[in-house]
């Protein structure tokens, strides 16, 4: 049983690490603020979840498990709030997103507050 | 490199101090102040380290801990630091409302006009 837990934990941690690094890459290479937010979203949802689940599989007792779950839930609750507010503030202050040129004509352009 | 912790402390302290002195923006000054304070927290915490000791949280099977007292002290100091930052930011906002700016030079200019 232990060996399965350890293997599962490693797998989750590995996936989490990969997602995390991917998000980091996106943060570096995406063209503007709004697109970078999506990359960060990766690191804050699935990547975090994978790493924390990996740890949960290693947890020595129930309390630790519960704590890890608390952290996970908190992260999942906080990050969309933060992302939304940040994006809102950015748009509010006239930070114009770089949009796909093909779609420009048919899409809504942000109205100034 | 034997005392690398001190070097970190000193560098952070200098950075913080420099920001406080050199920047005219009130928010940046507060950030500088935060860095300055944090450097001292690091000083205390690194000083509490005991060779081979782990974090001073009581647990079974562990006999060697870092000195807990500085940690406790710094917890207090952090609270104080947060209170300072909060008050500083609140003041900055009130200043912004009253002066219309948070740049030191402009505030001083407006004060001189008042006189």
């Amino acid at each position: 049983m232990d060996i399965f837990l350890a293997a599962g934990s490693s797998l989750f941690l590995l996936i989490g690490s990969f997602l995390c690094l991917s998000g980091g890459l996106g943060l570096l290479r995406f063209p503007d603020f709004y697109t970078r937010m999506h990359a960060v979203g990766v690191t804050e949802t699935l990547a975090t979840a994978m790493i924390l689940i990996g740890l949960m599989l290693q947890s020595p007792d129930a309390l630790v498990l519960l704590k890890l779950m608390v952290i996970l839930i908190m992260t999942l609750f906080i990050s969309p709030t933060a992302s939304h507010a940040l994006a809102h503030a950015a748009l509010q202050n006239n930070l114009v997103p770089k949009l796909n040129k093909q779609n420009d004509n048919e899409e809504v352009t942000p109205s100034n507050p | 490199m034997g005392h690398y912790n001190y070097w970190i402390v000193v560098v952070l302290m200098m950075i913080g101090f420099y920001i406080v002195i050199a920047h005219g923006n009130l928010i940046k000054k507060i950030i500088g102040l935060g860095i300055f304070q944090t450097s001292v927290f690091i000083l205390y915490i690194s000083m509490a380290n005991v060779e081979g000791g782990t974090a001073p949280i009581l647990a079974e099977g562990i006999s060697r801990y870092s000195n807990p007292l500085p940690h406790v002290l710094i917890l207090t100091a952090i609270v104080v630091g947060i209170a300072t930052t909060a008050l500083g930011l609140a003041l900055a906002i009130r200043i912004k409302q009253a002066y219309g700016t948070i740049e030191e030079e402009e505030i001083q200019k407006k004060d001189n006009l008042d006189c």
Partner: protein, 90 residues
């Protein structure tokens, strides 16, 4: 595998700092700083497990809470013109 995860999180944190320096807008910096904070929570948790001190999770929770409060704190004023000023400077 723990070490690999720690490394990955650490690298992402470095990337966050890089993005924080590069900007170019204020929002990029806030985004980077915020991400740095959430990754710190992960890092603390991972380090706790690596050092055999799952008690560190308490710290991680506190850190997550502080993160949340600071985000709310910053956003509380995100509408105020404090930010506008910076935007213009860019």
């Amino acid at each position: 595998m723990l070490i690999a995860a720690i490394l990955a999180v650490f690298i992402v944190m470095v990337i966050a700092i890089v993005r924080g320096f590069m900007g170019p807008t204020l929002y990029d910096r806030i985004l980077a700083v915020n991400m740095f904070g959430t990754k710190t929570v992960l890092l603390i948790s991972l380090l706790g497990f690596m050092m055999g001190r799952p008690e560190f999770l308490d710290i991680a929770i506190v850190y997550a809470l502080i993160n949340f409060i600071s985000v709310v704190g910053v956003l509380r004023y995100s509408d105020s013109s404090v930010f506008k000023h910076h935007n213009k400077q860019k």
